[in-house]
C-alpha cells in the first residue's frame, strides 16, 4: 500500500509587477474544482501593499511561510513575470528541503522574469520608475501600463488589474525595478529537477519566447515551452484558459506517485534533520544520468537483469545497475575487497563477462531459471577458467559483493528508507541540542513518528 494520490493539488499562484492575486481569477475559474488554488498577494501588492518585506528573498520567504501553514502533500507553483523569479527561488529551496518545504510536483513559469538579471531597456525601466517616484501610480498611467501589456485583456480582469496597479506600494514598485529584477539568482536556483512548463506569450516582449529559451530554460532543462499566440505579456488577463490548460496539462503528467511520500519528504525538510544529512539524502533522488561509466552496455544490461532478481525493489524503481556503475567509475571505495578478487572495476567486468559466458542469454530465461543460475554462482558452483574470467570460487565471492552493493545502493535511497519506515536520520537538526528520541522501547512511539510508507499514524 502506498500513499494515496490526492485529487486536488494545491496550486500556488504568484503575480506580476503591479498586479495582485486577483490577476489569476480567470486562471482559477478555468482550472475549476480539481485544483485547490492559492493565489498570493506578494509583499507590496494587493492586500499586502502595507508589507515592508519587499526583496526577492523576503517575498520568497512569505510564500514559504504560506506553504508551511498549508502543508500540501501535492502542489504546483506558477509564477507570472516577477512572480516567476520568486517561484523559481521557492522551488529551489523546496527541492533542497530548505525552509521546511517539500519539493513541488510541478513548476509553471509564465512570461517569467528569469533567475538572472531581467532584460529590460534602461529607458523603459527609468520611465516606469518615474511613475512611482512621487507616490502611487496614477490612474492614467495604470491604465496605460495594463493596456500596453494586455491589449486584449478580458474587461473584468482589466478593471481589477488597473485598480491593483494603483494600490501597489510605490516602494515595492521601485524595489523590483531598481533591485529585485536586477538581482542574479542563477547560482541559487541552479538546475531544477521539478517538472516544469514555460508559458511564453507570442510575440510578447522582453520576456517572450526567445528570452525564455535563453534565460529560463537552462534552469528547467526538461521543460516544455508553450507559446500563446497573439498574447501580450499579461497573458493571464487575456487568455486565462491557455494558462490554465498549461497548469492542468502539467498536473496530468506528474500526478502519479511522488518520488518520496509527502510526510516523509516533510520529515527530511524538518528541523529534526541536519542540513548536511538533508543534502546527502536528497542528492540521491537524482539517478546516475550520464555520469561516467565503468561497464559497457552489455555488462550494464546484464547487471540490470541480475539485480532485478537479487534486489527485487519494493516501493522504488531505481536504476541500481546504473548507480553501481557510476560508483565504480568514480572509484568510490569502501576500504576493502576480497584479496582473491582483482580491484573492483576489473572484478565487476570479469564477473559479468563470466555470467555472459557461462550462462548465455540469462536475462531472457524464465525467472526460476535465472534464480537457479544465481544460486549456483553464489554457491561457487559455476565459473570459468578462461583467462580474464572468474572461476567458481571467485564467482562466489563476487556474487557476495553484488548482493551487498545492490542492497546498499537500494536502501541508501530515501524512498527505500521510507518503505522500510525508517526515521533514524531525523535524530536531531542543527540546533545546540539535538532532539534525539524520548521513547526507545518496543511499541512506544514519538508523536511525530509515522508509518512513512503511507504517511498514516503508527
Amino acid at each position: 500500500m502506498s500513499e494515496p494520490i490526492p485529487a486536488a493539488p494545491v496550486v500556488v499562484l504568484l503575480h506580476a509587477l503591479g498586479l495582485s492575486s486577483r490577476s489569476w481569477d480567470g486562471v482559477v475559474d478555468a482550472l475549476g474544482d480539481p485544483f485547490d488554488c492559492v493565489a498570493i498577494d506578494l509583499p507590496g501588492y494587493g492586500d499586502a501593499a502595507g508589507s515592508d518585506r519587499l526583496t526577492v528573498e523576503q517575498s520568497a520567504l512569505v510564500v514559504a511561510e504560506r506553504l508551511r501553514a498549508l502543508q500540501p502533500d501535492r502542489w504546483l507553483i506558477a509564477g507570472h513575470s516577477m512572480g516567476g523569479k520568486v517561484a523559481a527561488v521557492v522551488t529551489a529551496w523546496a527541492e533542497a528541503g530548505e525552509q521546511g518545504l517539500i519539493a513541488p510536483d510541478g513548476l509553471v513559469l509564465v512570461d517569467a522574469s528569469p533567475p538572472s538579471p531581467e532584460p529590460m531597456s534602461e529607458q523603459r525601466r527609468a520611465g516606469m520608475e518615474d511613475w512611482a517616484e512621487d507616490g502611487p501610480v496614477s490612474p492614467a498611467q495604470a491604465e496605460r501600463f495594463v493596456d500596453q501589456n494586455a491589449p486584449h485583456a478580458l474587461p473584468a480582469l482589466r478593471e481589477t488589474a488597473v485598480a491593483d496597479v494603483q494600490r501597489a506600494a510605490p516602494t515595492a514598485w521601485l524595489q523590483w525595478l531598481e533591485r529585485g529584477s536586477l538581482e542574479d539568482w542563477t547560482d541559487a536556483v541552479g538546475v531544477l529537477r521539478t517538472p516544469a512548463v514555460i508559458v511564453a506569450s507570442d510575440p510578447g516582449g522582453d520576456l517572450g519566447p526567445a528570452a525564455q529559451r535563453r534565460l529560463t530554460l537552462p534552469h528547467v532543462p526538461g521543460a516544455t515551452v508553450q507559446e500563446v499566440d497573439g498574447a501580450g505579456h499579461f497573458v493571464v488577463l487575456e487568455q486565462p484558459q491557455a494558462v490554465a490548460d498549461a497548469i492542468a496539462g502539467l498536473w496530468q503528467r506528474v500526478s502519479g506517485p511522488r518520488a518520496l511520500p509527502a510526510a516523509f519528504a516533510r520529515l527530511i525538510a524538518s528541523d529534526r534533520v541536519s542540513a548536511k544529512t538533508r543534502a546527502v539524502m536528497l542528492a540521491r533522488l537524482d539517478g546516475p544520468g550520464d555520469a561516467p561509466r565503468a561497464l559497457d552496455d552489455a555488462q550494464r544490461d546484464l547487471l540490470t537483469a541480475l539485480l532485478a532478481r537479487i534486489i527485487p525493489q519494493r516501493g522504488t524503481d531505481l536504476d541500481l545497475a546504473g548507480r553501481i556503475d557510476s560508483q565504480l567509475a568514480a572509484g568510490n571505495d569502501d576500504g576493502w575487497r576480497f584479496g582473491d578478487l582483482p580491484p573492483d572495476v576489473q572484478a565487476w567486468r570479469a564477473g559479468l563477462d563470466t555470467v555472459a559466458a557461462v550462462a548465455p542469454g540469462l536475462a531472457d530465461l524464465p525467472a526460476e531459471e535465472q534464480d537457479a543460475w544465481i544460486t549456483r554462482f553464489s554457491d561457487g558452483e559455476a565459473g570459468s577458467d578462461e583467462p580474464g574470467l572468474l572461476d567458481g570460487r571467485r564467482m562466489g565471492l563476487w556474487f557476495e559483493d553484488v548482493r551487498g552493493e545492490g542492497v546498499r545502493v537500494w536502501l541508501s535511497h530515501p524512498a527505500a528508507q521510507a518503505w522500510i519506515r525508517y526515521d533514524g536520520f531525523a535524530d536531531g537538526g542543527d540546533g545546540e541540542r539535538k532532539q534525539g528520541y524520548l521513547r526507545t522501547r518496543a511499541g512506544e512511539r514519538e508523536p511525530w513518528q509515522r508509518d512513512w510508507r503511507t504517511g498514516a499514524a503508527r
Partner: protein, 517 residues
C-alpha cells in the same frame, strides 16, 4: 575539534615524541605526555572534525572510516572499512560502539590457566588502576550493581534501554541467564569535560556508529585530545606517515609524512606508533623495521561476533536508543568446558543499510531478502563478542599493490580456529534460545567477526614478540607501539578501554613514573 589556538612546533625542532595516530592508543599518550610538560606532536592520517559535522546517514558516514583498500582473505575473511577502522582526529573512536566491559584477571593468562592461547606479560592488577582512571575520565555509565563482580558499581546510571535490550532481558530471565545494562561510554547526565566543555546526556539517537554529534558518546576528540591540546600538544590532521628516519645506532630521528601532497619531516626523540591492528604492522613491514623476531603481522586476531536476529510483534524501531544497552557475562567462561575462554552477549540495534548489507553478504537475496527487510522496524538483535586466540594461519602480509603514498597495501588472511568455531556455535545456540524465549519470529543468524587486533604482539621474550611488556620495541629503542596490535589474545571485552589503559601505562613508563604494583 578546535585546533586553532594550539601550540605548534617547527619541523626542525626536535620534539620529545611524535605520536602516530589519534585513536584510543595515541590520544591518552598525547594527553599524558603533554600534561607532563613534554613536547609532543600527533600525526593523524584523517581529517579533523567537529562532532556536529557528522551525519546519521550510513553512506556519508564512510568519511569516518579507513577506506584505503585492504585485501581480505582466509576462510572467514573480515570486512574492513565501516566494520572496524576509523580515520580522522579521534581515530576509530569516532565510530566506536562505546561498549565498555572490563577484562577479567583470567583473560590475561589463557595459556597458564586453560592451556590455550597466550599469556599477556601484564596482569589485570597492573592495568586496573588505569582502566578505572580511563572510565572516570571519559565517563562510563552502567548499573549500580554489577552481577558478575561484587562491589563493582558505576556512579553514572545507565542510558535508556532500547527495544532489543528489553527483549534480551525478557529472554534471559525466562532462561535463568543474568543480564543487566551494559557499561557504556555514553553519558546519562550532562557533564563538563575538561578543555572541551559541555557534553550533554545521551539523546537516545541510535546512530552513534556514524559519528555521535552531541558529545554524549566519549570519543578521543571530545576527551583526551582536547585535554592534550590544552596542555600544549600539537595535532596535525591529514598527515599520513610513510617513513621513519634512523641514525647509525638504529634510533629513530625523524618521522616522514605526507600532508596535502607534500612530504614533511618532523624531528623527534621518540615515536609512539598507534595506528591500530592493520596500519601499525603495515608501516613496520613496509619499512622492514622492528621485526627481528619475524613476528610483525603474525597472530592477527578478530573477535567472533555472530549475531542472531528476529522479528517481534511490536515495532522495535531499533534506530532509537543506545544500540547495545544490555549485557550478559554468564558465558565468559564455559560451565562445561565446551569452549576455552568465552564470550559476552549484548543486545543489538543496527542501522538499516549496515544490517541489510550484512544480510545480503550473508547469503540472502531476492524476495526472501525483501520479505525480511519489509519488517525492519520490527527487528531486534543480539550478538556475541568472543575470545580470539592467536594462530599461525592468521597473518597480515603485504600485497604487491601500493597506495597513494607508496606503501604496499595490507592483505589479511583470517580463518576461525577450532575455539572460535566452538564459541560461535555455542553463542548462536544460546542466542537462538534467548530470542525464542523472548517471542522472536523468523529468527536468522549472521556470522561475523569484528575488530582488528594482534600483529605486533607484546611479551617478555624478544625472540617471540615485537614489543615488551611496556609496549617498547625490542629492536628500536625509541619506538613504542600502543594500540590493539600489541594484544597477545583478543580478550572477550571490547578492546577500546583496554587500549586506553595500556596507553596511560605506557606513557607513565616513558615518563619514568612509578607504576602500580
Amino acid at each position: 575539534m578546535d585546533l586553532t589556538r594550539m601550540r605548534r612546533w617547527a619541523e626542525h625542532e626536535e620534539v620529545d615524541a611524535v605520536v602516530i595516530g589519534t585513536g584510543a592508543g595515541g590520544a591518552p599518550i598525547l594527553a599524558r605526555l603533554a600534561a607532563a610538560g613534554r613536547s609532543v606532536v600527533a600525526l593523524e592520517a584523517g581529517p579533523n572534525w567537529d562532532p556536529a559535522d557528522h551525519t546519521p546517514d550510513e553512506i556519508q558516514a564512510n568519511e569516518l572510516y579507513w577506506t584505503g583498500e585492504r585485501l581480505s582473505g582466509g576462510g572467514t575473511p573480515e570486512a574492513f572499512g565501516g566494520n572496524n577502522s576509523g580515520t580522522g582526529v579521534g581515530g576509530s573512536t569516532l565510530h566506536w560502539g562505546a561498549f565498555c566491559p572490563r577484562p577479567r584477571a583470567d583473560d590475561f593468562k589463557t595459556a597458564s590457566t586453560e592451556g590455550v592461547g597466550a599469556d599477556w606479560p601484564l596482569t589485570l592488577d597492573e592495568l586496573l588502576p588505569y582502566l578505572l582512571e580511563v572510565e572516570d575520565f571519559i565517563g562510563v555509565s552502567g548499573p549500580a550493581d554489577y552481577p558478575w563482580e561484587p562491589g563493582r558499581s558505576y556512579a553514572m546510571p545507565p542510558v535508556a534501554r532500547n527495544a532489543p535490550a528489553d527483549f534480551m532481558a525478557a529472554g534471559c530471565e525466562a532462561l535463568g541467564i543474568r543480564a543487566t545494562d551494559g557499561p557504556a561510554a555514553m553519558l546519562s547526565r550532562d557533564r563538563q569535560q575538561p578543555h572541551w566543555g559541555l557534553r550533554p546526556a545521551a539523546n537516545n539517537s541510535g546512530s552513534i556508529h556514524q559519528g555521535e554529534r552531541t558529545g554524549a558518546k566519549a570519543t578521543m576528540d571530545t576527551t583526551y585530545l582536547p585535554f592534550a591540546v590544552g596542555h600544549g600538544a600539537e595535532i596535525r590532521a591529514e598527515a599520513m606517515v610513510h617513513g621513519l628516519e634512523r641514525d647509525s645506532t638504529g634510533r629513530i630521528t625523524a618521522v616522514v609524512y605526507r600532508q596535502h601532497g607534500v612530504d614533511h619531516r618532523q624531528r623527534t626523540k621518540a615515536v609512539f606508533l598507534c595506528g591500530g591492528g592493520v596500519e601499525s604492522p603495515r608501516l613496520l613491514l613496509n619499512l622492514d623495521l622492528a621485526n627481528s623476531s619475524d613476528q610483525v603481522g603474525r597472530n592477527y586476531l578478530a573477535h567472533p561476533a555472530a549475531q542472531v536476529w528476529g522479528r517481534f510483534d511490536e515495532p522495535t524501531m531499533m534506530w532509537r536508543g543506545y544500540p547495545s544497552s544490555l549485557i550478559t557475562e554468564d558465558f565468559w567462561r564455559s560451565s562445561d568446558d565446551s569452549y576455552a575462554s568465552g564470550y559476552l552477549i549484548q543486545s543489538l540495534g543496527v542501522m538499516p543499510v549496515t544490517l541489510a548489507t550484512s544480510m545480503a553478504r550473508g547469503g540472502m537475496w531476492g524476495e526472501r531478502l525483501m520479505d525480511r527487510l519489509e519488517h525492519y522496524d520490527h527487528f531486534a538483535g543480539i550478538g556475541i563478542n568472543g575470545e580470539c586466540l592467536p594462530s599461525d594461519q592468521n597473518r597480515l602480509t603485504l600485497s604487491d599493490e601500493v597506495d597513494e603514498v607508496g606503501l604496499r597495501r595490507a592483505r589479511i588472511d583470517f580463518t576461525f580456529g577450532e575455539n572460535e568455531e566452538k564459541i560461535t556455535d555455542h553463542g548462536v545456540d544460546v542466542m537462538r534460545r534467548i530470542w525464542e524465549a523472548a517471542g522472536a519470529k523468523d529468527v536468522f543468524v549472521l556470522p561475523r567477526n569484528a575488530h582488528t587486533e594482534g600483529t605486533l604482539r607484546m611479551g617478555d621474550d624478544a625472540g617471540e614478540n615485537v614489543v615488551d611488556r611496556d609496549c617498547r620495541s625490542f629492536d628500536v629503542p625509541n619506538l613504542w607501539v600502543c594500540d590493539n596490535s600489541v594484544f597477545p589474545t583478543s580478550m572477550i571485552a571490547n578492546p577500546a578501554t583496554t587500549i586506553m589503559a595500556l596507553a596511560l601505562r605506557t606513557a607513565d613508563v616513558f615518563l619514568g613514573r612509578p607504576l602500580p604494583a
